[in-house]
Amino acid sequence: MRVIKQFFSTAEDLELIGNKSEIDGLFRLQRRNVILFITLCYGLGYVCRLALNVVKKPLMDAGVFTPEEMGIIGSTMLYGYALGKFTNGFLADYAHVGRFFAAGLLLSAMTNMGMGFSNVVWLSATLWMLNGWFQGFGAPSSVVSLASWYSNSERGRYYGLWSTAHSIGEGLTYLGVAFLVAAAPKGLGLSWQWGFWTPAIICVGAAFLVYQYLPDRPRTLGLPTVADWRQDHGEAKTGVDESIWKTQLKVLTIPSIWILALASSSMYITRYAINSWGNVYLQEIRGFDLFDANLFIFFNTVAGIAGCLVYGLVSDKWFNARRPPANFIFGLLELLPLFVIFYGPKDPLILAAALIVYGFGLSGILASLGGLFAIDIAPKKVAGAAMGFIGIFSYIGAGMQDYISGKLIGESEIAFNFAVSGQQTTVFFYDYSKPIVFWVGASVVSIVLAGALWRVRASE
């Protein structure tokens, strides 16, 4: 146990390097490594998180799982992730993030491998919950790296850049994994199991990269803190001599953090509703095939890359690192297209355009509500804990969404059974009208809550 603890712990601070040009050189090198590898590997790790969403319809059609069972399995992952993000957020503040992150990716790969062999609800739910827990190693590690290597006035931009990883990962999943399991000629027509095994292989590769290239904190390398290096301090430098644990607990006493957690939670309901059920909705109700449905979801994720980057720039440059005005703009860009997607014209081009604007707005506001705004508000040395706290709320919301959506969809089920020579072929019909009200309503609540933080500014 001690060996494991020692392996994953952040190293002791080293004496500061005296040579300024050496400091500058090392900072430049490591900052490049940090942003490159947290973005790339977090994106690759995402493939192991979302695989189930792509193969959901094939699993339902094959009668392996009902919508309610799919909802249960999906929600266990999100609960596991919520717990993982929270506890791992606290742990990440003490960890060598490169090793910590790599362990999460490797273990997540193992659970994906197992999912390909399971058609039993409780086993799949357990594996997927563990996957959620292991997936929860990535975001806190990345955020701790961002807080350690980038200062206040530039963090919005780099956070935005890192947030593109969500979209890169989602895009890879919704296009890449869909290509594997979609019927020919659009896809390879492989069985649903490959939808889990391929992501597992990808995550092993990502684990290797992050283990090799993601550095520990600057002080462990003999560098000053990034705020000192860039002469970029916030409003107040509180609790410098306070223990990490005490400062972590202080996060829980900040009212803005609680409101932010609820706003993020509501937005995650919509986010994961579209991620988990969007492609099933497009296949079931709008009649697209698996590949095309995932292609539409892919459009939204690609637009998300631009959304993250533009959000960081807009909030840093136009609003002087104030997040609330940018939150409002991006919130509307997220909400309005939802009405077009679900209640608007049935034209595929309009649907694609609405999904693109939705993805753009969602990624922007999520970058803020899901982390950036929290680490602005919280003391920087406990960025991981602040992120973890927001994360647990967000993913409890997302998990509840998956179960509630699955249940609402399952309740609307009409099974048309065709008895054929002693066997039975079943075609299922579902009604998404109730889940859609739930998904859109959650976005409205989120934007209202985020608006309540209009006057909140960054600390340190």
Binding site: D61, L106, A109, M113, L190, S191, Q193, W197, A200, I201, V204, A207, F208, E284, I285, G287, D289, S412, E413, I414, A415, F416, N417, F418, A419, V420, S421, Q423, T425, V427, F429, Y430, D431, Y432, S433
Partner: protein, 158 residues
Amino acid sequence: MAVFKYTAIVLFLLVSACAPEPTNSYCSTHKSAHKEHQMEVAKLVINANKKGLVEVNFSLPSNQLEKTNERLKQVENILEVRGQGSCTLVSIDVNQEGESVKAKYHLDCGVNKPLKQVDIKLLDNFPNIDEVEADIKTAAVRKHFVISRQCKKPIFEF
């Protein structure tokens, strides 16, 4: 490094041990071939609306009936509808039109009593029917597909 090496070996062994599922060539090609014999296939159109009314239209070439169309006059030979409440048969209309037989059934399953299950018994009760083209519309969605005796799964997008 050893961990990565052995993980890669295990993954390779697991993946390489799997073989694709066997496929039925008729079913895999029927998506594109169905149009060629579409006119000779039995057709089932069901419209279940929000008010609980279920309209069923069934047509088939008369040579696919064994002798007479008497069996079509019993709705339980065609389908059984199960919902939150019981469904009442409102009307049955069976007619010979040229070389095909057309049957219409109206059922009332009640407002706010959603359907849960519909058992279609055509392929069991009419042995000469090999294939049914179904066009089913519920309050939320419409699906158009083919059910064939030779295929385990329905065929969509033909």
